[in-house]
Structure formats: structure tokens, C-alpha cells
């Protein structure tokens, strides 16, 4: 059953809608992002405009603004405004690459790390200060400074300097500051940990799944860590995740909210290990698991044949893993999948969690900015990754030479805002998932040679569509436990302990 089979389609009953068949039902979405799931008979009545006014179906359609005669214009405006709230604010996420040096060698390294001897890739204190000065020019009242690398602990002195300098400068600016660090944790020491906890720097790490896979994909040379566990990347990460969580508990912070977050990069070897991956994360005390596919950046391109896989296989892996996570939730274990949480917040929550890679327009520069160790400025971290591969398409400025307003008005930024606007993109413009989705111009540029890309051939689009198909199948099943778990996954609680405000 599809629209072509409707004999007497009404042109006046329905508000504009997009539709797609999911789990034997018709999924309809509209501009404001409301959805309904209809069976064949309901869909026919809807398309023909013959839904009885006193029926439950009419009420469902009316409440979600699918009936033209009953439309609540003000509610539509308000819902769109809520979803697009991020457009009024400037960049919140500021990624600072304090060094390219890293002591681990990962088969897929997106950041194109440098050897530990490459100290010329360390950010200087002078560059660090200029970076902070520019970050505090953002129009966003909340700013997150995320330390990345390489391995940021390899240039810890500059991390400390940035935190101290930003806190001091912010006394005159009055923004809400947050600091996060993405680290493999292998260069952590008790002294560094004490300082990071005292200065409220959140920590995030990478865990590739079970120990044997993690150690195979993330080589930690013998003697690189300051522990007897040296040589075993997984054991080192596990030790420090435990220690950090202990420190949070010592401060009396709620462990369901305050714990180390870890990121997964899914390679071909991860796919059959979906259960082990979930069990590993639960065992480490993680409450969230982000099942990220491998990206075509950095070393991943070179080792593509070994780490890549058809996205159809990834989506099977995703379904198996999330089904298992839902089962664990049923047993009282709290673990959520990050992709699902992002989409469900939009689908069920009616809000946009402002995940910069999945929004329209995307967050390139207007939501995030990446600052390289040498003072070069990029639209986003992915743009910086391409720079390390010799492609400067997404280079938009340099510290000391480019002003904040010049960055935001840069022609590349303007082009990316248009290229990632789903109202301007073939396929997306008609896609049922348009209200919830987003595209990445850098990914398009890298894989298809144009920032606009061709969505039907995009691996990213396949992943986004496949995940949303899965989520709507689950919603369509009506399983109360699944719906309850999904509702819980949409609840975003701020980690207020890490927010550092300074009253002017």
C-alpha cells in the first residue's frame, strides 16, 4: 500500500507530510517533527480524507497537526522554535588539540597521531592563551572546551594552563564553562587525576570492546604507561576508569550521572562481538555506549580494507547490540545507546539535544570550532582531521590573524550551513526522517567529492536511516517496557557539578 494506490486522494484534508513504511505500518512525519504510525485502513482513510471526526484516529491526527482544518499554527511555530533553538546561539563546543603526540597506535586513528618524540606538535602556552581568548568571544553563553589530541595528557602542562587561564579570563566574561578531556588514560598519574578532579575536568576515554580486541586495535608499547599494567591498553584504561569513578563517588556525586564516558569505534572485527562489547561497557560501570561506525579519516583510510565493512552488516550489529541493551534494561541494568538517545530525544522528546553532527544545519563552526596545536582553526574536528591528511578545505582561519566574526562569516562556513540544511538537500527534502536527521558536509566531501554529497550513496545516510528504521520498528511494536526505556533515554540531565559559572 502506498499513495499511488489511493484512488481518491484528498488534497485538502492533510497537512504536508512525508511517509515511509516501517514494520508493516505507515510512518508519517510533518514539519514540526510529530509522527503517527497508521495501518493500511487508517492510511487510506487519512489520504482520502474520510476519517470520521468523532474517531480516535481523527483525535490522534488532530493532536499532532496532521489535519489541515484543525491545524494549530501557534503550536507548530512553538515546536519548530524549540527544535531549532540552537540556531540562535553560536559555537558551544571548542575542540583544542593540545598535541598530536600519542603513545598508543590505533589501526583506525582518525586524528593522524604523531610519535611521542614529535614535540613540535605540542601547542605552546602563547597559542593556548590566544585560543581561549577567541573561544570566549563565542556568542554562546555556555562554552565547552574539549581537550583532544593526539593524547592530551602528553601536553598536560598546557591543559592546565588553558583551564587556569580560561577560568581567570572568564571572571570578566561570565560564561558557563565546561572542560572535558578525551584521553586513552595511559599517561594518567594520581597527581594528574587529583588536579583534573579538583578543576572539574570531565574525562572521556575510548574502549574498543573486550580486552583482546581493544589491545589488538590500540597498541600500547611496553613501558609507555606508568603502571605495572604497561603494555596492556585495556587494563590501563580499566584501572583509571575505576579510579576516576572512585573519586567522583568520594565527592558524593551520583554515580548514575557522574562516571567516565567511553567511546567505541566499530571496526569489522567488532561486528560479531556485539554482546561482548555491551558486557564490557556494563562491566566498566559505563551507563552509555556510543556505537559509532568507523569514519574515513586519518589512518582509517589507509587501513580501510581491514577495518571497514558494508553498512548493512553494521546495522545488523547495531540491532543485535541494542536489542541486548534493552533486555539488560529490563533486568534493571542501566545502559543506553547514544545514537538512539540522540534520535529519540527528537522523536519522542520534541527537543534537539544539539548533537552537532546530526542537526540541520550541522554545527560546522556555528556549533563547534576546532583549534589545532599550531593555531590553525577549522570548522570542526573532522575538518581538522582532513587537514592532517593534506586537505585544507575546512581551514577557516588562524589565531592572531582571524577575528571571531570573520570565522563565523567565512565563505566555507556559509557553504556548509547551506550544504547541511536538509531543506536544500535532494532526498533529505522528502525524507520521512528529515525532522530528526543531519548530514556531514566533511564526510560528503571526503567520500563523494562534494560537500553536498549524494545521500542514496552515502554510508552516513544509510546508518542514520537504518537506526531510525530500527527505533520506529520498536516504537511500532508498542512494547511498554521498550517505550519506557526509550522515554528514559531521552531524559537529558545536566552534569551541573562540571559547570563553572562566574557571576559578573
Amino acid at each position: 500500500m502506498n499513495l499511488l494506490q489511493i484512488r481518491k486522494a484528498s488534497t485538502s484534508f492533510a497537512m504536508p507530510f512525508r511517509h515511509r513504511q516501517v514494520a508493516g505500518k505507515h510512518l508519517l512525519t510533518n514539519t514540526e517533527g510529530a509522527f503517527v504510525l497508521l495501518d493500511d485502513a487508517e492510511f487510506t482513510a487519512f489520504a482520502e480524507g474520510t476519517v470520521a471526526r468523532d474517531s480516535a484516529l481523527y483525535t490522534r491526527l488532530r493532536e499532532r497537526n496532521f489535519v489541515r482544518a484543525e491545524v494549530d499554527q501557534r503550536a507548530i511555530e512553538e515546536r519548530i522554535r524549540t527544535r531549532k533553538r540552537f540556531m540562535d546561539l553560536g559555537p558551544n563546543l571548542h575542540i583544542v588539540v593540545v598535541t598530536l603526540r600519542c603513545n598508543e597506535t590505533c589501526v583506525y586513528c582518525h586524528a593522524s597521531r604523531a610519535d611521542m618524540s614529535a614535540t613540535h606538535t605540542d601547542m605552546s602556552k602563547e597559542t593556548a592563551e590566544k585560543t581561549v581568548d577567541l573561544i570566549l568571544r563565542s556568542t554562546n553563553p555556555s562554552v565547552t572546551i574539549e581537550f583532544q589530541g593526539g593524547e592530551p595528557l602528553a601536553n598536560f602542562e598546557v591543559v592546565q594552563h588553558i583551564v587556569d587561564y580560561a577560568l581567570k579570563k572568564n571572571e570578566k566574561v561570565g560564561k558557563t564553562l565546561e572542560f572535558t578531556m578525551v584521553s586513552n588514560l595511559s599517561l594518567m598519574t594520581e597527581e594528574k587525576l587529583k588536579w583534573l578532579v579538583e578543576h572539574k575536568v570531565q574525562m572521556c576515554t575510548s574502549v574498543d570492546g573486550p580486552e583482546h580486541l581493544h589491545d589488538k586495535q590500540r597498541k600500547l608499547p611496553s613501558g609507555a604507561a606508568a603502571l605495572p599494567l604497561a603494555g596492556h591498553a585495556h587494563a590501563v584504561a580499566k584501572h583509571w576508569i575505576g579510579r576516576i569513578n572512585e573519586e567522583y563517588a568520594r565527592l558524593g556525586l551520583d554515580p548514575t550521572l557522574y562516571h567516565v564516558e567511553a567511546l567505541l569505534t566499530t571496526t569489522s572485527e567488532t561486528l560479531p562481538l556485539w554482546k561482548d562489547v555491551v558486557d564490557t561497557y556494563v562491566g566498566l560501570g559505563c551507563k552509555a555506549l556510543f556505537l559509532r561506525p568507523v569514519d574515513p579519516f586519518g589512518f582509517a583510510e589507509r587501513s580501510g580494507g581491514r577495518v571497514e565493512y558494508p553498512r548493512k552488516d553494521y546495522l545488523e550489529f547495531y540491532r543485535d547490540a541494542v536489542d541486548y541493551m534493552l533486555e539488560l534494561n529490563k533486568q534493571g541494568v542501566q545502559i543506553l545507546e547514544r545514537f538512539a538517545a540522540i534520535f529519540l530525544t527528537k522523536i519522542l522528546g520534541g527537543e534537539d539535544p544539539n548533537f552537532l553532527d546530526i542537526r540541520s544545519p550541522c554545527g560546522a563552526a556555528i556549533g563547534q570550532v576546532a583549534y589545532n596545536y599550531d593555531g590553525k582553526i577549522f570548522t570542526c574536528d573532522e575538518g581538522r582531521m582532513l587537514h592532517e591528511m593534506g586537505d585544507d578545505t575546512f581551514l577557516i582561519g588562524e589565531l592572531g590573524k582571524t577575528t571571531y566574526r570573520d570565522l563565523m562569516g567565512h565563505e566555507t562556513v556559509r557553504a556548509m550551513a547551506i550544504a547541511s540544511n536538509l531543506d536544500a538537500q535532494p532526498d533529505c527534502v522528502n525524507c520521512t526522517y528529515q525532522p530528526y536527521c543531519g548530514v556531514c558536509p566533511v564526510h560528503n566531501h571526503k567520500t563523494q567529492g562534494s560537500i553536498f554529497g549524494r545521500m542514496r550513496e552515502s554510508t552516513l545516510c544509510a546508518v542514520h536511516k537504518g537506526i531510525q528504521d530500527y527505533l520506529f520498528e520498536k516504537i511500532a511494536s508498542g512494547d511498554p517496557h521498550v517505550i519506557q526505556t526509550f522515554q528514559r533515554w531521552t531524559t537529558v540531565r545536566d552534569r551541573t557539578h562540571f559547570l563553572q559559572t562566574c557571576a559578573l
Binding site: D88, T139, V413, V429
Partner: protein
């Protein structure tokens, strides 16, 4: 030069592996020129690209791979060109139809991020620049634009020629 390639209509494409080139005929009535530019540009990292006119109101896009290639790769390349042509043509159409919403969203997103100019920005502003063009007279007052024209000033007397030319 062969004009037969699996999956493409006879005569639509031409390729010569030995001389390292392939081309596809593009109907000018079906694809706007900007779509042809956009689609051809995608290949410049892999190929030398040339646009040419073909018979019957058509264009021809020539692709010459920078590295040696085989028939399968040529087929994939021309197929990709065809898909990119369709994508660019449709996007051009969408851009025309949705121009107002695209402009509104872009302006809002960029405006929100850029914010109002601060004193530093004003300090850096080049006030010596030429005044902007105002062909529609938007910056003129109503009186200047529509008010009664003043009686024409009498033409200035032609200046007496200088007794001596100025240096």
C-alpha cells in the same frame, strides 16, 4: 574509441582506454549548465576534466583519469558522473523552489553565531571604503526619491581657461 559500455545507452558514452579518456553526452534540455559544472567538478582530483559542446544541443563531459584505469573503473566513473548530474540538477531545482526557507535558516544560523559587531570590529572597519551601490535608491529619503525636483540649477559658467596650464 568505443561507444558501447555496459549499462549505458549506445552512443551516450565514448571511451578509449589506450588513450586514457572517456566522455558522456549530456542533454542541455535536461540538465542545467550549473548542474553540469557542479557534477564535473567533483572529478577534478581524479581526472582531467573538459567540457565541450556536442551535436543536437548537448554538452559532452570528457574525463581523463590521472592514473591508468580499466573498463570497470571507467564504467563506475561515468556512472558516478550520471548520479552526480542528477543530484546537482535536482538540488538546483530545490534551491529555486525553497530559496526563501534556505535563506532564512542560513541567515538565522549564521547571525546567531556571528552576533552583533563589537567595538573591536568597528575599530577594524574600513570607513575609507567606497560607499555601497544603491541602484534601487533604498538609502535615499522619500523626498530625494519622489519629491518635486528643484528647478535645475543654472549651469555653471564655463570656467575661464587658465592663463597658464597647471603643472
Amino acid at each position: 574509441m568505443s561507444s558501447s559500455l555496459d549499462g549505458f545507452p549506445e552512443g551516450q558514452v565514448q571511451f578509449d582506454l589506450e588513450r586514457g579518456g572517456a566522455s558522456v553526452r549530456v542533454d542541455a534540455g535536461l540538465y542545467p549548465l550549473e548542474a553540469i559544472y557542479g557534477a564535473a567538478y567533483v572529478f577534478i582530483d581524479r581526472c582531467f576534466v573538459l567540457l565541450d559542446r556536442a551535436d543536437g544541443g548537448a554538452y559532452r563531459v570528457w574525463l581523463s583519469p590521472k592514473k591508468a584505469t580499466d573498463e570497470q573503473s571507467v564504467r563506475a566513473m561515468l556512472g558516478e558522473l550520471g548520479n552526480e548530474l542528477l543530484s546537482c540538477a535536482w538540488r538546483a531545482q530545490i534551491a529555486k523552489e525553497s530559496r526563501s526557507i534556505i535563506e532564512a535558516v542560513t541567515a538565522r544560523a549564521l547571525g546567531g553565531a556571528r552576533g552583533a559587531p563589537g567595538l573591536d570590529d568597528l575599530e577594524a572597519f574600513d570607513f575609507s571604503d567606497e560607499a555601497f551601490d544603491d541602484p534601487l535608491g533604498i538609502a535615499m529619503s522619500w523626498e530625494e526619491k519622489y519629491g518635486k525636483k528643484k528647478a535645475e540649477e543654472p549651469k555653471a559658467e564655463a570656467a575661464e581657461p587658465d592663463a597658464e596650464p597647471k603643472p
